[in-house]
């Protein structure tokens, strides 16, 4: 997957978690939690969906690395590259 494809997939997942959010205005460097009205259950649902749809299981200790859109795309891209 290209970084663009990963970003689209991450945004699609976020859209299912927070359907009311305008994701076109999501700032890539700012944590999701500071921009979207999401709670810990939403974040857990997000990580479960990333695992299911992108086949990347993110350990809890790496959650700080995937707190932003940019960080999340980079993390998933690296994980997929290591596997390839």
């Amino acid at each position: 997957m290209t970084p663009q494809e990963i970003e689209s997939a991450v945004l699609r997942i976020l859209g299912t978690i927070a359907p009311e959010a305008d994701l076109t205005r999501l700032k890539p460097d700012v944590p999701f939690r500071d921009q979207l009205d999401i709670d810990s259950i939403d974040l857990l649902n997000f990580f479960i969906a990333v695992d299911k749809e992108l086949h990347v299981e993110i350990p809890e200790t790496d959650y700080p690395k995937v707190a932003t859109l940019k960080g999340c795309v980079q993390y998933v891209a690296s994980a997929l590259a290591v596997r390839a």
Partner: protein, 326 residues
């Protein structure tokens, strides 16, 4: 014959509109089956039946709005032997359906229902409030160790430790797990924790996590996530709205450190948890930093007093010091 009635789904519900019948006359129904959808101030709710038998006659058609308690259908009760041996239901024709209102109309009605409930609560219930700060060093360490070995779909949230600790602490102070009805307190044997859940388009519902004290932590986590997801998807069941025996509210995800809740009548207590924060903490005379949470209790002074409330919060604290036993 038994009557299946419009259920009371919250202290201030007066009427509901039948949206869909999932069963038709002649169908077999088992206790616990969802047989209808009803539209209320809290959105569309799946309604369960509490009698096993055969649906004899439908009395209220989709689209009709009727007061709480109105018979909706007649059920011919199964003989005890039939109740013990469930029979498969015949395939049902496509359900008759009306459309539940959504959007602004539902939002206005939900806000009115919340307004009525909290106004009644503050008018009738003499609240008292307690707070304590709980050291979560053991709990967060244990959680990290557990989650390192669990697949992402089975990971625990700190919130589920809070829910289980509350459920177990209620065994020590059972008068907080009760309803105030007809001028007296009625304790509940079952511990059904109402989980205060915000809805994305505004509003708040606190459906019941049933028998929270008897579930393993893994089961409780699954039930908790399922309940919150179904609440937000508008897929609650009637019993989840009608039978919480106490409520837990957590605003830690919103950044606040403490929440002093308003009791949902006819319940007699609400427990609050704030955000987990690092704070200076004294351990054996040494100053260290520890993750801590502020736990609060709002309780009905007609039912109990500060001494018992303090024992309850102390029990929650003690349970969170031994997370492996939750």
């Amino acid at each position: 014959m038994a009557e299946f009635r419009m259920p009371l789904l919250g202290a201030d519900m007066t009427a509901g509109r039948l949206v869909t019948w999932y069963k038709q006359p002649g169908d077999t129904v088992q206790r616990g089956d969802i047989i209808a959808e009803v539209d209320t101030d809290k959105g569309a709710i799946d309604v369960e039946v509490f009698t096993s038998g055969v649906l004899e006659k439908i009395l209220v058609q989709p689209g009709e709005k009727v007061p709480v308690g109105t018979p909706l259908a007649v059920i011919r009760e199964a003989a005890p032997a039939e109740q013990a041996a469930p029979q498969p239901a015949a395939p049902s024709p496509a359900p008759l359906a009306a459309t539940a209102p959504a959007g602004p109309e539902r939002d206005v009605r939900m806000r009115q229902a919340i307004a009525a409930a909290v106004t009644r609560s503050k008018r009738e219930i003499p609240h008292f409030y307690l707070a304590t700060t709980i050291d979560l060093q053991h709990a967060t360490t244990w959680l990290g160790e557990q989650n390192a070995t669990r697949p992402v779909s089975d990971r625990f949230l700190i919130g589920v430790l809070f829910l289980k600790a509350v459920a177990l602490a209620l065994r020590d102070v059972p008068e907080l797990n009760a309803r105030w009805e007809g001028g007296r307190v009625a304790r509940s044997e079952a511990i059904h924790i109402g989980v205060a859940t915000f809805l994305r388009d505004g509003g708040l519902i606190a459906p019941a996590l049933h028998d929270a004290d008897g579930q393993s932590l893994a089961d409780l986590m699954r039930s908790f996530r399922d309940l919150v997801n179904r609440t937000r998807a508008g897929e609650l069941r009637s019993s989840e709205l009608s039978d919480p025996t106490i409520t837990v509210t957590s605003l830690g995800d919103r950044g606040v450190e403490a929440v002093f809740g308003v009791i949902y009548p006819p319940q007699v207590a609400i427990v609050g948890f704030g955000r987990v924060v690092e704070r200076p903490w004294s351990v054996n005379g040494q100053l260290v930093t520890r993750p801590v949470v502020t736990a609060t209790l709002s309780a009905d002074h007609r039912v109990t007093d500060g001494h018992r409330g303090a024992l309850f919060l102390a029990a929650v604290d003690a349970l969170l010091q031994e997370p492996g036993r939750l």
